[in-house]
């Protein structure tokens, strides 16, 4: 498989949110606005790339029976690094995403990519795989966040284009499920054609 194919598979073909349906907790939780979705997506991408690189680097040094705990410790370290860095330099975003940053640790996408890809492939391909999957995840979260922001608050990336309130339900949890359902349907239609 060429590296471009490896990179682009995360966009549509194996999109972690719309096709693999992984990492639903942050997907539904933080996407109340496009900025939140993008911030969460980029934080996850960073962790995904770094953990894929490190896991691929040490894969031959780790005995099979302890690979999951080792991988989790590596992922948790990078998540803590992201958490601290955001708290120090991006206070506003950190306040918004709050609880969901530490929860990146248990995001199935990251462990899933480490287990199914990075443990079996060389470093460069693993980094590309992480980057592609991360972009796919960011893309999905940003689209979802934008759709909910437009419908729920009548704004996009924080710029209000209608006066007054939007349809509040889309900012709350039920709206997340509704929008996600329609987006998954749309992606499937796109894949078929």
């Amino acid at each position: 498989m060429s590296q471009w194919k490896n990179f682009s598979k995360g966009f549509i073909r194996e999109n972690p949110v719309f096709v693999l349906l992984l990492g639903m907790c942050p997907t539904l939780g933080v996407t109340t606005s496009a900025v939140n979705g993008l911030g969460m997506g980029l934080a996850t991408t960073f962790v995904l790339v770094m953990s894929n690189i490190v896991v691929s680097l040490v894969k031959d040094l780790i005995p099979d029976k302890v690979r999951i705990p080792s991988v989790i410790v590596i992922i948790a370290s990078f998540v803590t690094i992201v958490d601290l860095t955001m708290a120090a330099y991006f206070q506003a975003l950190h306040n918004q995403l709050g609880l969901f940053i530490p929860l990146i640790v248990v995001n199935c996408i990251i462990l899933g990519r480490a287990e199914s890809y990075a443990l079996k492939h060389p470093i460069f391909s693993s980094a590309i795989d992480g980057l592609g999957m991360g972009f796919g995840f960011s893309l999905a979260l940003t689209i979802l966040g934008a759709a909910r922001e437009i419908l729920g608050s009548g704004a996009i990336f924080g710029f209000k284009f209608i006066q007054g309130d939007g349809m509040l339900a889309f900012v709350l949890a039920p709206g997340a499920f509704l929008v996600l359902g329609y987006l998954i349907a749309a992606v499937h239609q796109l894949k078929k054609s």
């Binding site: 005995p63 029976k65 410790v73 948790a76 690094i81 601290l84 120090a88 206070q91 729920g152 900012v171």
Partner: protein
Amino acid sequence: MSKKPSTFFNMVTTLFGVALISSAGVGLVYEVTKAPIAQAQLAKKVSAVREVVPEFNNDPIAEAYELSSDIGPLTAYPARKDGVLVGVAIETITQKGFGGEVKLMVGLKTDGAIQAVQVLEHKETPGLGDKMDPAKSDFMAQFRNKNPAKFRLMVKKDGGDVDAITAATISSRAVCDAVQRAYNAFEAKLQNS
């Protein structure tokens, strides 16, 4: 390089190594970000104090003292202009929010009237309870220049004078509760001295 076999010795040493290196990395980032995080939090506090009390030229953070309340000590930041007390910013708290704890900064003038109220931390519903944030609605503006001695800090539904946020009565009650606590602490201190 061949895969390491899963012997007891290999597993223990690998996990030990992974944990050691990871914690060293996290520790390093913690040390690097410690100062910026503390600074960001201090800046947030200073700007909150600045927004809720009349103009001052002392350092309220350095002169902070504690007030006792029914749920533990509250921190108060006295604001002085040329040595004369012009107001006190009180960091107050309530557990009655819809999403748990709500932290406010309440600015009181020397006669006990409310100058302004700022939100420090909350976990209220986006689009509903988060309208307590002065950036999102003018709910907080109604407290300006009201003296809780005459202005009953309860929502109108409960027989008070406060216009609740639509569809967020619990969040509105929480704000009233926290502001009342700050006022009570301030008054108790005044009576004792």
